[in-house]
């Protein structure tokens, strides 16, 4: 899967996250979270796992999280990916 255009998904509500995707030559992931200290590593693992499953090798991934659970992270990221790759 290739990120073809800018896309966004999610909200700023508590227990949710915002995902921003942009085309880029290399893969960069930046994560901002109100629980970064406690869960930054777990969020990152989840994001990497979803990106790998969809074969995303390049693009700028920016995430601002407010304590979302891992299935919310997965759903928001997949939605953003679908938007970034659709015709």
């Amino acid at each position: 899967m290739k990120i073809m255009k800018k896309a966004q998904a999610g909200t700023m509500q508590s227990s949710d996250l915002m995902v921003f995707l942009e085309p880029a030559d290399a893969l960069t992931v930046t994560i901002e979270s109100t629980v970064l200290k406690q869960f930054g590593g777990l969020i990152r693992d989840k994001v990497d796992q979803v990106l790998a499953r969809h074969g995303v090798e390049a693009g700028e991934v920016r995430i601002t999280d407010r304590g979302a659970l891992d299935y919310a992270i997965e759903a928001r990221l997949e939605t953003a990916l679908a938007r970034a790759t659709e015709g």
Binding site: K6, Q8, T11, M12, Q13, S14, M18, F20, E22, T30, E32, S33, T34, R62, T64, D65, R66
Partner: protein, 333 residues
């Protein structure tokens, strides 16, 4: 549900809610949205370019997720319009409400604070990490609209008196010459100076975010120039990163806003460890060189006069097809 506020009744309610919250209702804006409950507006917010403003939630409805919903909507819409960094001015007391939404505090002046959504400043500084020299260095911030002999004189004088000089070119697209053209003119006009590094200011110096009144057309914003946060941000975040010990500026005989900005610079920067050196303007034929004078001459197509005020590199650009298109709206002569 968050909706656009368009009708005159919507606007009336929006104004009332904003003013009740101790803010002022300040058009213009690109988006104005709100949330209604039983036909009463209970939350409101607006976006103008990269700046979110007039965010208010009715008393009795605070503490829930209304603010989150309004900010989500404004950022989603802004992002679709091609904006990807967002800022909020608020009072220090409200800063934490926005920090909970992943806004980061950029700078605080005591009575107002500026927050940024996401970590744009950190990424900006990281992007320029390889250009950081040990210092102590100097800095010039200039719009260069267009790059004149006055700018070149200032940069040469400044570069000669420091180890290394950072020349920040204003990124904001609110000038006659687009950023790319201004940057190129500066690049070509300073290529002979080996200890000068060009940077773009992004949103972080003399931008419509940090210093909105700079871009007002008629230069007199009535005393208050709102440059304090701009200068605090420079002194607290940019200067330490780039080891900037001195900021150089040209004396300003014409523009009231710029003159007031220079005064604010003398007041704010030195206590924070950045010396300010104001250099007299270079003059030709008895009048100081300024970019506004060059623009006025271009407008009257007095090219020979222009040639005396700009470096050869700028003149070549102005006379190129691309350059002409910018100032010679009437077509080639």
């Amino acid at each position: 549900m968050v909706t656009s506020l368009l009708s005159s009744d919507d606007l009336r309610q929006a104004r009332a809610l904003v003013e009740e919250s101790g803010l002022s209702f300040e058009p213009p804006y690109d988006d104005l949205v709100g949330i209604f409950q039983t036909r009463r507006l209970v939350a409101v917010g607006a976006r103008q370019g990269r700046v979110l403003k007039m965010l208010a939630v009715a008393p009795g409805h605070q503490g829930g997720s209304l603010l989150d919903d309004v900010v989500t909507e404004l950022i989603g819409r802004g992002y679709q319009q091609g904006t990807d960094s967002f800022f909020i001015f608020t009072t220090p007391g409200h800063a934490t409400s926005f920090e909970r939404l992943n806004f980061n505090l950029l700078v605080s002046s005591g009575k107002s604070v500026l927050l940024e959504y996401g970590d744009g400043l950190r990424r900006y500084l990281a992007r320029h990490q390889t250009q950081v020299c040990p210092g102590p260095n100097g800095a010039v911030v200039a719009n260069c609209n267009p790059f004149t002999l006055g700018h070149r004189y200032l940069v040469e004088q400044a570069a000669a008196s420091v180890e290394h000089l950072y020349l920040f070119v204003v990124r904001e697209e609110k000038s006659l010459f687009p950023f790319d053209c201004r940057y190129r003119m500066v690049h070509e006009g300073t290529a002979h100076l080996k200890n000068v590094t060009l940077l773009d200011t992004s949103s972080y110096a003399v931008s419509s975010v940090t210093f909105p009144t700079y871009f007002l057309k008629d230069g007199d914003p009535g005393g208050e120039i709102q440059a304090e946060l701009d200068l605090l941000l420079f002194a607290q975040r940019l200067a330490p990163h780039f080891h900037i010990a001195t900021r150089f500026v040209g004396a300003e005989p014409f523009c009231k806003t710029t003159a007031a900005y220079n005064q604010a610079m003398h007041r704010i920067l030195p206590p924070l460890g950045v010396a300010v050196r104001e250099l007299e303007r270079k003059d030709t034929l008895g009048a100081a060189i300024s970019a506004s004078r060059v623009r006025a001459l271009l407008c009257r197509k007095e090219i020979e006069e222009v040639a005396a005020l700009v470096p050869q590199t700028t003149l070549e650009f102005l006379l190129s097809g691309e350059g002409r298109k910018i100032w010679d709206k009437g077509g080639a002569t």
